[in-house]
Point group: C4
């Protein structure tokens, strides 16, 4: 089934898909780290019924996976974020709406299915009044959680992509924000993001909304423990921002392993829900994260590629494939439900081995090879 | 000698042979894991006579190797499983007959040499009466052991192969089983397999036959210990089903190392015989498994490739080469007999290192390169 | 910004740059070792102002980086070392002047900016009177420290480079030194270097100058401890001489990790400043060294490539890029200042793994592929 | 100097040289293992005079290296073993004469320089009278030690080479031995070798000669300890027979590390001299073996390639290059003499990591690519 879906996706769709592990070390690590985890399946268990459903911050969903906040979705397809949210709703999974969306918040929330769950991802503005206004609008429009991006005091060096994107359409959500079309591009559209954001601001953010707070971009156990002990934090996303912020940031899955070990050793593993994103492309990747103790994973590019290929139907297909793959992996490991998934079902002893298989003298070559063009735009 | 045999096999035969490590991570791991084990040979021992013979579940055989159950043998050669069993008989090794055979059970057992040993591999039917009938027929026809496949509540995603196979000929053994030619293929021919099979069913299985029970598809020490302590289990096969069930399952040889360590630490290493399959292509691979404590190894593809090339004579040649390679490896390590083989004759300290040497960004490419065609069919 | 600068540099400039990891094992290790270190960034810290400045042996500088002593700078550009020192001065970083310069010491010191810092690198002459004269001239001309090269009792095997270089212009500094144009080249210009130099000579060297002594070329913890306990040593440079002295010398960054661990375990980490050189090409490399406890890093080739491309302006551009990259990496790791940089911000557990990813049978091929030509000369 | 010598060697000579790491796993391991050892050089030591000389079993020699026994030397050059022994004599190093030589023992010993040392390598005949006669002739002709090959109860699978070799010329030494030209080749010329040779035969061998006994082919610490405690053994060669006997035998250098650790822990390191062979191609390789505690290393192919290129002069050039490389490596590590070489001068912690960098699916391809032809013959 999956192979057929992939063949259908060819040309642009599969082109995006196959370029997943593109040109950054941390980006590659996000994928490579999964290759260092193997399964320890259990057999002779009754697998006549298998259920992938779970709940995230109290919202039920069909599987422990959500579509993460991706900026400027209309670059992939005219439907943009609306297409993503339609697919997520039909598949009963959570969609995290981006601040830097190319659709308006009203449009995104308006496209929500009746029983669907949306979260709102927030870049905090230097002008806190604007942030308060935005957060309260998101809550009013029905968003169920607020995911504050904490790993981006400045946006990383993504000149080529951002420059292309910027020429076509500015993001809709922050209409009032200053956009300087002269020097810079990524810097221009993100100049209003506050680099001074820190732990002390969380109390204020909690005070302006009833939505539970998620910290998106935690990267080590020390910060995970701070988050778990913080009275206003309900969940964290362990992530290296898709490898786009700091090169040689560790992979999401490796950080997840460290974070869960630290939370467990302090008895805090149930105080917060822990998600991760970065490099999830297969149901087996998802199962590995669940074995490590993650509550859910976020996906970005795969959803965008589905969107670019077939609009919301393409996104749905990607979600269906991932769910079927997860279900098969659960069957093979002897897990009837998410609750059956155990840490001892994986062998992650090699996870810490940062042995690059790319010779140093090929890194520049790889990093500067031309990227596949986004020809559908 | 071996090089000549290989040259003779060229075109189809060698084509199959060289495509052994084909397109799945766990499949590759089955081979790669052997590359992480090195020998610690003993010298200055009298090697004037070397004997590779052993016994499996009480049946004597010429070497600690059997032909494992491979579905649909006629896809390789018109003789199908009958050719395999003729060769196994002449070489005095065990043949494990498959449930999903393309020859009838009567034909397979009828081709058995006088002093040869056959085992029967079983997929358990949802309709237990059919299973009982099948098992009793196998026993009646002279099979000496019953190998119950425990790692396949569902068959894995093998669309291309199964689709091709299915078009030519349905399996003969389960004549009564429903075969839906519409949607699905692998799913269709295996729809009758019971996903609810579990430890509690073993007692019933033991009650319907006097054949000793083998559990085929154990994948971690926990299940190996359950098997060793189970009153009805006489042997297990440590296997990842040729890498065809769950990707990122560990290699057979790595699981064998774990399982033997666990059995030894519980003093259970003599309670059951432990076999493994997956990736054995050389006599040195076989010797490594014996050093780890395995009683025998199963081979699948090599036998099929021999069959496809030269019928039963090709299978015999493969078996002869493996026996000669094993004998030479034993000579070089200072082992006159199977009983001389010792754990300290290998250095397996690197076995656990799951460091993929395939960069993540090449995995898709490798997995979707065209497979060599089976042109003899 | 960086990508643009690199595009401008193309042809010769970028040619040099991309050939950074050229043809020696230790040279490659200098780069590869950095690939085995990953970051553990801290988030939610106020990053509204970030400062990269520090001081080296009491001299303030804009970042913890200096231009190391590179022989025969005019091979890269007619300005030679004068161009390097101009750029270093304008960027407020230290320049370490080479003994084997192609400019005179007077010219190099004369080009020093008002508030700039220069150090002098010394090869010790068999004729100590000449060394004393040279050292005193350097001090008189305003050099602030004396870096004694300790890893070169003989110059390594660098026949091709040295032969080419030698034909164009002999070094200016050691005017009186014998240069034999017959047999040899590297050997000829370095024949006066004293292979008998040893720890006992340091007291004499300290007696002829008030400049603090730096030992350049320490390669293991034993020698680092000797240096730290030596009354006359104020700093060391951990270095494998760019991989040009002994093949299979360890990488600079790996030696730095060992040396800092040893100094800390003896409580000597504050007795000397520890620098390193070898393979630094990115701001993230620099930050990794600082996390390990290094006080500063030296760069060689990157500065020469900038020089070859655009003269002093090219060098300045290289320095600007490195400073901006360091600043961004500090922001992403949550460091407002050099003092905020902590050992726990990196994961260097894989640093010791000397697993070559270059198959042995490709080493000769790689080592003897043609180097990019230096066409600007 | 070295580069020039190599350029002179090109075509056949360098062709052989670059094909050193040819087609077997253990052969590659012999080279690859050296890549996992790095140096920890000491600096600031008086290196005004450096001496590479040592003694082996009491015989002085110019460096800790000998030419090992290579069968059928005339395949490389008409001079055959005589050319090797002339070069070894002029360079004051030991030559180990092979039983399977293509020159007569009289010719080889007759070509010995006045102050040169020769050892005799022995395959033991099933007919012990013939062995006694041969050993006593070797002693009479002036050989100073007897190296008994203990790792070859049968010769390994080397069909192509042995077949080619055999057609040209049978070995001269064992004139009386039966040579069957029909079936087999390697087997034919070695059929007289006794596979029953064992520890109990050593006493008899010691009784027929006053030459000290060397055991050639020890491969693990257990056998090294047996040898060290044996009253008749004076030295051992740790070796995997150039990777030609058992594939997945460990590399010589790795076995050396294990053997020396075992001898030291039993206080037996001075009871026997320990040599190794396998993969030595550089002076740094040699120094690494000495750091591990080896007394000397043997070379085979490099000498043969020198011989094939320029006869005895080519061999001498190879020896000169290796000595100069060893001298430079000693200078860079701070060793004035062989006695200064210390275990702590290397970092061999990664030596045990058997992580193949050759993907499993390329092994067959590599093993069966055509070898460079020996066109000078």
């Amino acid at each position: 089934m999956e192979a057929i879906a992939r063949e259908e996706m060819t040309d642009e769709g599969w082109g995006y898909y196959s370029s997943a592990a593109d040109d950054e070390v941390s980006m590659r690590e996000n994928r490579t780290a999964f290759q260092r985890i193997f399964f320890r399946p259990r057999v002779l268990r009754d697998m006549s019924a298998v259920d992938t459903s779970t709940s995230l911050l109290g919202s039920p969903c069909a599987m422990p996976l959500y579509i993460s906040a991706c900026a400027l979705g209309k670059l992939a397809h005219p439907l943009g974020e609306v297409g993503l949210t339609m697919a997520a709703g039909r598949q009963h999974i959570v969609h995290m709406l981006p601040t830097l969306a190319s659709s308006s918040l009203e449009d995104m929330c308006g496209a929500r299915a009746l029983d669907a769950t949306q979260w709102f991802q927030l870049y905090v503005n230097r002008d806190r009044a604007k942030t308060a206004e935005l957060v309260q609008k998101a809550e009013q429009l029905g968003c169920k959680a607020l995911a504050i991006t904490v790993d981006a005091p400045l946006l990383g060096r993504r000149e080529r992509d951002m420059r292309n994107k910027f020429s076509s359409e500015p993001p809709k959500v922050q209409k009032g924000a200053e956009i300087r079309r002269d020097g810079g591009t990524a810097r221009a559209i993100s100049a209003w993001i506050d680099p001074a954001l820190n732990w002390n601001d969380l109390q204020w953010l909690a005070s302006i909304t009833r939505m539970p707070l998620i910290l998106k971009g935690i990267q080590c156990s020390e910060d995970a423990l701070l988050a778990a002990r913080h009275p206003n934090v309900r969940a964290i996303v362990v992530s290296n921002h898709g490898g786009r912020q700091l090169d040689y940031a560790r992979s999401g899955v490796e950080m997840l392993a460290e974070v869960m070990a630290a939370l467990r050793s302090e008895g805090l593993q149930n105080r917060i829900e822990v998600y991760m994103d970065g490099g999830v492309r297969r149901g087996t990747d998802l199962l590995k994260c669940l074995c490590l103790g993650g509550r859910a994973v976020g996906i970005g590019r795969p959803a965008l590629w589905g969107l670019a290929s077939y609009g919301d139907a393409g996104v749905e297909r990607v979600l269906e494939i991932l769910k079927e793959e997860l279900r098969m992996a659960m069957v093979m490991c002897g897990c009837k439900s998410i609750a059956d998934i155990r840490p001892e079902m994986i062998d992650a002893r090699s996870l810490q081995a940062h042995i690059s298989t790319v010779p140093a003298d090929r890194l520049f070559e790889i990093n500067y090879r031309p990227l596949p063009l986004v020809s559908r735009l």
